[in-house]
Symmetry: C2
Subunit: 351 residues, 2 copies
Amino acid sequence: MTTINDVAARAGVSVSTVSRWLSGQPVRAAEAVRLAVDELDYTPNVMAQSLKSGRRGTIGVVVPDISNPFFAAVVKGLEQASRELSFRLLLANSDESNEREAEILVDLTGRVDGFILAPAHEQDRAPLRLREAGIPAVLLDREVTGGELFDVVVVDNVGGAASAARHLSSLGHTAIAMINGPTDTTPGRERRSGFLASLSEADLDLPPEYDLTGDFREGSGRNLTLQLLGLPQPPTAIFTANNLMTVGALKAFQSMRVRVPQDVSIVGFDDLTLGSLLQPPLTCVARPDVEQGALAMRLLLSRIADRAEDPPRRVVLGTCLEVRGSTAAPRVHTARHQPKRAGQQTSTARS
Amino acid sequence: MTTINDVAARAGVSVSTVSRWLSGQPVRAAEAVRLAVDELDYTPNVMAQSLKSGRRGTIGVVVPDISNPFFAAVVKGLEQASRELSFRLLLANSDESNEREAEILVDLTGRVDGFILAPAHEQDRAPLRLREAGIPAVLLDREVTGGELFDVVVVDNVGGAASAARHLSSLGHTAIAMINGPTDTTPGRERRSGFLASLSEADLDLPPEYDLTGDFREGSGRNLTLQLLGLPQPPTAIFTANNLMTVGALKAFQSMRVRVPQDVSIVGFDDLTLGSLLQPPLTCVARPDVEQGALAMRLLLSRIADRAEDPPRRVVLGTCLEVRGSTAAPRVHTARHQPKRAGQQTSTARS
DNA sequence: CTGAAAGCGCTTACAG
DNA sequence: CTGAAAGCGCTTACAG
């Protein structure tokens, strides 16, 4: 390992001079230093630099599920934006667990200059300690109670869910169910409230048996959909509150040979890679992902650069309802309970 | 910032003793040290520890595209396995660019104890410098010429592609096309050779107009499929060499209203999240992903732990052909050029 | 612009 | 088991 001392000796200057040259300051023996660095193939020891300067050049990124396509896209945006300003990403997966998240935070603190965090739950206390410790952090996609002092980049969950509810009710649905994420997460809480508000504007309510809570993963979307389908009065439309649960719902439909949108309409929060390729194509609430990551990273890095105690910034990104083929007007509500109409239904369905 | 000196003073011992206690060595004043650490809420400075010990506790991970679901799953496996042994992940996205990859490698060297690398191209020279520098690295999913000394975890590309070709030829297809990835990548080269070998076993060949090369991204899959569809003699079956290009092909089919499998059969390398939900469900060559990541990480960490110069290890994971609905026997080869049979075709297709 | 010197916070032989 | 001391490789006032 060649050190700054070797370079200094070779260039015939002091280590101070080499250090200055490295940091871009004007130096008389610039050429000699450059030559020595080249010949010795010298690279500064990053750990030593960090120890002295206190800068780590690294951002901690904590997401609940890196294999969720939404977060994968977010991480792509984070990586791009961080690269532009010569920062690196220390990535960790909390697996939707607040314990794991807390561990990660203490583990990474001291290795990073700041955090991008999508907390597992809104009640997580661990992120608050970041603020106390004066470590810059921006919350992404999810917030935390008591975290008013954090910079935040989120999506308009309320508006997005409301647009889904409005769409379904305007089609004439009255038996509408929701498969929501945990209400102790920001998306779960906000999508629920937006959906409910929009339903009640249409004078509809959400009976308990239609008001289901999953965990944002595929399995729960599947199981809760099966549960809905088994009801004496199944809903004619379902809103699934994120991409993975939508996938689960679609798989449940397939296994039960339920036809979309003839038997049931579905609208999901989040688009799917193959959403437009499905038969029928999926109606969904789309939103930016890569851009959200890039935005959050720029916000964090500017916060780190100008350590100014500017007031916390809050960015809310818009959603877009993509109306495709998985939603349609309901059939007469109790149709499937009227044997005399069965023939008619069937022929309609097969035409 | 409280330091080891503060703890030593408070506990009434030397810093050596505190340092020993921290590293788990037996110490007489253990209780006093523990108390001081607790009261002072002391956390060792990681940078200082690294500077002295030379250990960084971090693994560099370089993938071509983090938003590709395959690599997202791999990263999930990498993260899990690294966590088990108290290592962290410095993640970077080379964006399929070898220049970017080379930059990343020099940027991360000095910050990590080893690399997990999926090289952009097989001719990349940058990874070889890792070996020269004595930095442990395992190649994942992709290899590099001259990299025989690296540990490697790959999938049986040849066998997987061969099974796809065998499947198509056994269905009776003779006009089979391939949309491959760059042949300067391991998957591109090997999937091509496996596919070709299996075709020639069936006495089939791959004419130039059926032998297309994309870039493993969705856009190229789409464009090349459109190109195939525009041929005077379009193929009756297509093999797409990765998940993203398969998505592109499916979108091309949809936009051209080409019916699968009636008009054309498709088999893709890699399963898709919604693969089984498509209409028809996608026939594909499936393979492990999370497990591949976990395996590669364990290999690397064991290499770092026992710095033993064991001979390089090479792990080849198996694939599994999932026969679903997107492949079927071809219609009579020149059917669409025989107007007299058009009526028959149509009625068959609609039944 | 420059060099000598102190020090960032730790670990690790060394001698007890 | 323990402490004093050297040193990991750098950066940064300090005095010229």
